[in-house]
Symmetry: C2
Subunit: 198 residues, 2 copies
């Protein structure tokens, strides 16, 4: 296999994980059956079981995929945005970028961790690690803004507010609410003063 081939090739396994990721987001983990994933990828159930022996295994692969995608997104923001403040704005504005999906299905991270908590699923902690990627990244940005002492608390604050917006946006399907709250968070961020050195 040449190097070019690798770029084009998409394995059946990858197609399964991608379809499962999408279906878990739109329908929920438990509500999504093996049959529906197999149908989406247009393979048989038997073939499916060749790649994944259990539902927990594919959940594990989906979370790994989300961890990878999140890391890539955070790195891209690190490149694109010039200042820590601009980088935090990138995060907040996902609510605008993904508005349509969020109104229909909420936040992929929040809804999955919530569901796994109710199922008392062992993968709950792993799913929460996607949150932790955002949390640590935001913490770094707030540290760069000079808020070393409260950086993690500020990161959790921004993370929490985004989650709240996602929950209510999907409950009411109200786009104006997202705009208002994003504006409010951005105003809050702008008014965050660098603490004077002690």
């Amino acid at each position: 296999m040449t190097r070019t081939d690798v770029l084009v090739m998409v394995t059946t396994r990858e197609r399964i994980v991608e379809a499962a990721d999408d279906l878990f987001y739109r329908q929920g983990f438990e509500h999504t059956s093996f049959a529906s994933i197999a149908q989406a990828v247009e393979i048989s159930r038997g073939n499916f079981y060749h790649h994944f022996k259990s539902k927990d295994q594919i959940l594990d692969a989906v979370i790994d995929r989300r961890l990878d995608n999140t890391r890539a997104m955070l790195e891209a923001w690190e490149q694109q945005a010039a200042s820590p403040r601009e980088r935090i704005r990138c995060f907040v504005r996902i609510l605008i970028t993904n508005r349509a999906k969020i109104e229909l299905h909420g936040c992929p991270v929040g809804t999955l961790t919530t569901e796994l908590a109710k199922l008392e699923h062992t993968a709950q902690d792993k799913a929460a690690r996607v949150f932790t990627l955002f949390r640590r990244w935001l913490t770094h940005q707030f540290e760069a803004l000079g808020h070393e002492a409260f950086a993690d608390a500020l990161a959790m604050h921004v993370l929490g507010r985004s989650q709240g917006v996602a929950v209510l946006a999907s409950a009411y399907r109200d786009p104006t609410f997202i705009d208002r709250e994003v504006d409010d968070i951005e105003r809050w961020l702008k008014n965050l003063r660098k603490p004077r050195p002690s």
Copy 2:
């Protein structure tokens, strides 16, 4: 039946709805089977079907129960608290009062509407009406504070922040986070200045 009897009597139907309410909260709607509800109430599945013909029917009854309980709670706050500000504080402090359950299972209202959205269940709008009870009540309080023009936006803001706290509290099981955010919301509420008349 005398008046005293009514106070003591609890019908099987009520016991079923109460158990279902609790199980839907802790395990999720779809994950909760008729058998588990019947087991909690200690009746047979057959008896269960005598009271509720379908799973949708019991969900409907559970939401009605939550609507009633919410209305009663809001009325109680209306009596207990002296000022609109104090009343809004009552709402925010549910996060403290119900901390243990929220860390384990999130907010009952938010998690149910989120789940029903993924199932594309017709009861989703009805479940969101519990949110609307809080929303309208908070709107009234902000109006009483003199914020007639932005009362609904302020209500949605408080509602959204509470939801965000609930999601992250259950994802991380971190009680200090709840305390910090509740303090922050109370500080925000305290600093909300009554707009000067135009």
